[in-house]
Symmetry: C2
Subunit: 241 residues, 2 copies
DNA sequence: CGCGTGATTGATGTCCTTCAAAGAGGGTGG
DNA sequence: CCACCCTCTTTGAAGGACATCAATCACGCG
């Protein structure tokens, strides 16, 4: 982590960026060291408690963020209160467009979350300078589009049982990518959130969870902690393939 | 078609592009005349009958297309036959990524459709040369992401009545943008397609259509032709705002 | 301990599906 | 030109999956 070799000039990677996931897979991976230093001047780290909106009320509304830790839920609400979660963002995802667009989406921390925020203007300038950065953003939006469309199939055509299994499988594959073995994780969402994500009610989610438990597909501890003995069985229950 | 005037140098806008929607709002609007000429060398126009896949079977699978006319439906299918339409594309939308990605989406002409296809390699090269082109593509993917998420709310939280009204409103706003007045249009989708788009059955779609008709919100002629006397009432029925 | 929030479980209701049949064009061939 | 058929759509009756309403449980905290 501290390979100090200093190619030639006096600039080096900002300390906060060194262990940052975004510096690797994320947006910042497209930047040179000097660009990273520049961006870092204007960036700020923030911690967001579960249930709070990501858009800092004191902060400038027009800002972008990288998720460093935690899970953020993107949701849409109808005027009568009906709500639908339309996406989950994990580290090191980039968030930014959702806020300002015509499409009214709210971003809220599902778990305790840490983000790195930048003023919109600085990032916009860098995007103009660094084509790879826009490419990376484009790439993420395509990934999100794929995920959204996958979820449309889940929402429109799957049974409650398959929906809940699909959700568990989604979390599983984000927590523990490529797991053919026994896995264990904490759910980042409450039952109410899961219901809003799946287009169901809390009660139905609960019932389907206990059914999956009784079928031996999952083991539940403390309401939030889940063990998946065999991810293939979960996949099957989710109607995938 | 053969207006040979030659401004000053020897290049000019290809004839086929002149009246093309994509040259204006679409992807090609970012290109210079010479780039357009270059791209046009490798492009081909194709007519696709309703119900046929957009990916030409004889054509190279890895190709991009602009929609010139008609409506294309993007859909996903489960192994047991359940199907969900995850998006509709209208002229002058660009299509290209859907095919090759990991996410298995099939693109099929909903109506008689005309497309302008390009080999993937040529477009990829141009995207690398022209940052505005990538910007345009990025922009479209963000637009599609918004639409997908809007639809997730529809799929997850709206009633059958609201779903059907939402679909009609979607078509209305694509056919006749900004219409506060009486509008009339042909549905680009069959009842079966509408059902697959809304996550419903054919019968339910039919029932809700007749209900909307009996409530005076729409007038139906010949199963496909729809008249909307008051788009605000339709909006309301769709649960929008 | 009592309270509050979130989750589970049960009883009942309802919206949408499923199954079934009939109606409405549209094209073909006699 | 009309009979026939094919596909798409509509309409009806019955059933089921999920929602709603309501009570209980489980855990954490003052």
């Amino acid at each position: 982590m501290d390979t100090y070799k200093k190619p030639s000039p006096e600039i080096e990677t900002p300390a906060v960026c060194r262990s940052c996931e975004a510096r690797h897979g994320g947006i910042c991976s497209t930047l040179t060291v000097s660009q990273l230093v520049e961006l870092n001047k204007y960036s700020a780290r923030r911690r967001i408690d579960a249930g709070n909106e990501v858009i800092g009320q004191g902060e400038n509304v027009s800002s972008y963020s990288n998720i460093l830790k935690g899970v953020v839920k993107l949701s849409k609400m109808m005027s009568d209160g009906r709500q639908q979660i339309v996406g989950l963002q994990f580290a090191p995802d980039f968030m930014g467009r959702p806020f300002l667009g015509e499409s009214t989406i709210t971003a809220e921390a599902a778990t305790e979350t840490e983000v790195c925020t930048f003023p919109r203007s600085v990032v916009d300038r860098m995007v103009a300078e660094v084509p790879e950065m826009e490419h990376k953003l484009y790439d993420q939006s395509l990934k999100e589009l794929d995920e959204a469309r996958d979820w449309m199939l889940t929402l429109g055509r799957k049974t409650a049982q398959e929906k809940v299994a699909s959700f568990l499988y989604l979390i599983l594959s984000h927590i523990d990518p490529e797991s053919d073995h026994r896995s264990t994780f904490d759910l980042p969402l409450s039952r109410a959130d899961i219901a809003d994500f799946l287009g169901l009610t809390i009660e139905t989610v609960s019932r389907q969870m206990t059914k999956l438990r009784k079928d031996g597909i999952i083991i539940i501890e403390n309401n939030r902690h889940v063990i998946v003995p065999d991810s293939d069985r979960l996949r099957e229950a989710a109607g995938i393939d």
